[in-house]
């Protein structure tokens, strides 16, 4: 029963056709290559979750040595850039309300005198916390200044005014990404999100297009079998996926010096599984959607939770339990762990496997649905 089985020549026919159509649609093809570069540059250069040199206004009630040391310490932290010295509290209020400054530092009158008297005067830092991400790190840095800012001024007889030594020392040690470079997280994250977005959508549209343009009826009238059509549609996009991965990795290494601690080939294997999973999702959508538009919307429906719940945009451990459960079901979550592991930690096969099998399971389930849903008739 050779005729019932998979025909390599028909599969090849589908492949050739898909590649012809893909390369003829130059705009889409260029986009698939350009999107990774654009996103990488935007995320890598333009978007920074740890912004520094934030505009700050200082309401100086005391022009003494101590007050100026505190201001200098704020500036030295790198987070605060003093842009205004308002004379009256009302002016200061206006600055922060209009958004001209992110912080308002209020150093009270007689600050120096109160320090000398040991009255522990308070410096008030008002933050425009509408964007908590932007202010979080700066405030953390400011909190530490209380202990260190006056270290050099309070010496000799004034030494007892220094705050007592804390009973233990907190030493922060950031591992894998000691500088906290966001690009290091962005590159693996983008690799996953871009593959999820473009590949899912492209396959979904590629199959739905056959229905929308009326070519599917013709295709179904030929002896083509579902697996041949499905693979013929998917494989060209596997190729596209690898092109995208190479673009992202290449750009990441060239522009951001992203390390490659682990095995390149292990990474490629995991990328392959991940690409296949996303293409299967796209193909499944295409069997459900009636138009290219619907297929796109369904892809977005899958893409958004992937992006939000996978740990790419927000820390996975910070999400509530139910969101983590959803996140665990998405291939992107596991893929991110694998890529971060291989790129930054140099993990091997043993560490990658616990994240790889969930993607394989996902792929098997979705591919089964796709094959069941794909109809060989028009019923």
């Amino acid at each position: 029963m050779i005729r019932r089985g998979f025909s390599l020549s028909r599969f090849r026919a589908m492949l050739v056709k898909e590649f012809i159509q893909m390369f003829r649609d130059r705009l889409t093809f260029a986009m698939m290559v350009a999107i990774p570069i654009m996103q990488l540059v935007l995320f890598g250069y333009a978007i920074n979750a740890d912004p520094r040199a934030l505009p700050t206004a200082v309401l100086l009630g005391d022009n003494g040595t101590y007050a100026r040391s505190v201001v200098r310490a704020l500036e030295n932290s790198g987070y605060f850039q003093i842009v205004a010295w308002p004379a009256r509290p009302a002016d200061a209020e206006k600055l922060i309300q209009s958004g001209e400054v992110q912080f308002l530092v209020d150093i009270p009158i007689d600050f120096g005198r109160d320090v000398l008297r040991g009255e522990r005067p308070a410096i008030l830092i008002e933050a425009d916390a509408t964007d908590p991400v932007a202010t979080g790190n700066a405030l953390a840095a400011a909190a530490a200044l209380g202990r260190t800012a006056l270290m050099h001024d309070l010496d000799g007889a004034l030494a007892p005014l220094q705050p007592g030594p804390t009973p233990f020392e907190i030493r922060v040690h950031k591992r894998y990404n000691p500088e906290g470079a966001t690009e290091y997280n962005i590159v693996p994250g983008l690799m996953g999100t871009i593959l999820t977005m473009t590949l899912g959508m492209m396959t979904a549209v590629a199959v739905t297009r056959e229905f929308e343009r009326g070519t599917m009826e013709n295709l179904l009238a030929t002896p083509a079998r579902p697996l041949e059509v499905m693979l013929g549609k998917i494989v060209p996009y596997v190729f596209v996926g690898f092109v995208q991965v190479c673009v992202i990795l290449g750009t990441g290494i060239a522009l951001f010096d992203v390390p490659m601690e682990g095995s390149f080939w292990l990474l490629m294997l995991c990328v392959f599984v991940f690409i296949a999973a996303n293409l299967a999702v796209g193909f499944t959508f295409s069997t459900l959607a009636r138009s290219q538009m619907q297929a796109m919307q369904m892809s977005m429906f899958f893409f958004l939770p992937s992006m939000l719940l996978s740990g790419f945009l927000f820390p996975f451990r910070g999400m509530p339990g139910w969101a983590q459960v959803i996140g665990e079901a998405l291939p992107l979550t596991h893929f991110l762990r694998i890529v971060r592991g291989i790129l930054l930690k140099g993990t091997g096969w043993a560490e990658a496997w616990p994240s790889l099998w969930p993607i394989l399971l996902f792929l098997a389930i979705v591919a089964a649905i796709a094959l069941r849903r794909y109809r060989q008739t028009l019923d």
């Binding site: 028909r10 056709k17 003829r24 009326g214 070519t215 009826e217 013709n218 009238a221 002896p223 008739t377």
Partner: protein, 320 residues
């Protein structure tokens, strides 16, 4: 190949190309095809006629395995239409109503793709041969989307026959194509039929029906008439007078109210007055014949008269 069974080995010319009985198909609660029997001999050109929504396309799709019938059975080229759709597909060329090839691929690329799907060997030679046969050689590198309607239809037909099928199913192949292209298209179909290919073609054009060896008329998912054109006309039991003269519109209004006259239709500069009972018809028009301004003549009912009459009758029957 065991799946085909003894029927699969039938030599061309032995069994009819198509033989189906009691075919039925519904979509939801809507019955599209009902109790449908037809038989098409090998090498025949068989015309499918009927109004829109009469079930022509659905029947064709069931014949080539694109739709599964709800009831009925039958063979297409000796293969069971329910169980051996794959075998049927290999031997049938199906031309969809809407252009079903890829507009972003060239003429040659499209033909090669279809050829590969059917495992045509040697592909290059066969493609070139087909390009020449259908006069497409000059346009082989043109994108299919840039072809005009007539050329698209030519390409679609070429793609249908690249694998040398035994049966062609053409679903309104000439819709929206100019008369010259239509004529050329029918010449190609006759040439194919002369070569032994069976052709089943659906159409709305009466002149095309006359080019078929046999025709079938469908309405409301039922087969109402079938046979050769003269058979269908003779079998209708209709009698027709043609009348020419001034102010035919007024005459038409008056004639319509007379008993014995079933149908009055305008045909160019004449009216066709049709009835089922010859005596009653003659009696009905007798007073009008005395008017010297009109010229009356007994004519053969046209195919259109027959179809419209049949359709009106079947609707009246269905309403009861």
């Amino acid at each position: 190949m065991t799946a085909a069974g003894p029927r699969g080995t039938a030599r061309p010319g032995e069994a009819p190309a198509i033989s189906v009985r009691g075919l039925a198909k519904r979509f939801g609660s809507r019955v599209v095809v009902k109790d449908f029997d037809i038989e098409v001999a090998r090498g025949a050109i068989f015309g499918f006629l009927g109004p829109n929504g009469s079930g022509k396309t659905t029947t064709i799709r069931m014949l080539c395995g694109l739709l599964t019938p709800d009831a009925g059975e039958g063979e297409c080229l000796g293969f069971d239409i329910r169980r051996e759709a794959a075998e049927i597909k290999r031997r049938v060329g199906y031309m969809t109503q809407r252009f079903g090839l890829y507009e972003d691929m060239t003429v040659r690329e499209n033909l090669e793709f279809i050829g590969r799907m059917y495992g045509v060997e040697p592909l290059q030679r066969r493609t070139t041969e087909i390009l020449t046969q259908f006069g497409l050689a000059q346009r082989s590198d043109q994108l299919a989307g840039t072809l005009s309607g007539g050329w698209k239809q030519r390409l679609a037909l070429a793609a249908c026959v690249i694998h040398s099928p035994e049966l062609l199913l053409l679903d309104e192949p000439t819709a929206g194509v100019d008369p010259n292209a239509r004529r050329e298209f029918w010449e190609m179909i006759h040439a194919l039929a002369a070569g032994g290919v069976t052709v089943l073609v659906s159409t709305h054009y009466m002149d095309e029906a006359e080019r078929c060896h046999r025709i079938a008329y469908l309405a409301g998912g039922r087969l109402l008439l079938q046979g050769t054109v003269p058979e269908v006309v003779a079998g209708s039991g209709l009698h027709t007078w043609s009348v020419e003269g001034p102010d035919l519109a007024t005459l038409q209004q008056e004639l319509r109210t007379r008993p014995g006259i079933d149908m009055v239709a305008a045909f160019g500069n004449a009216l066709h007055v049709t009835g089922t009972n010859r005596e009653a018809l003659d009696a009905a028009i007798a007073p009008f014949r005395e008017d010297r301004r009109y010229r009356w003549e007994r004519v053969e009912p046209s195919l259109e008269d027959v179809f419209i009459h049949t359709l009106a009758h079947s609707e009246a029957a269905a309403a009861q």
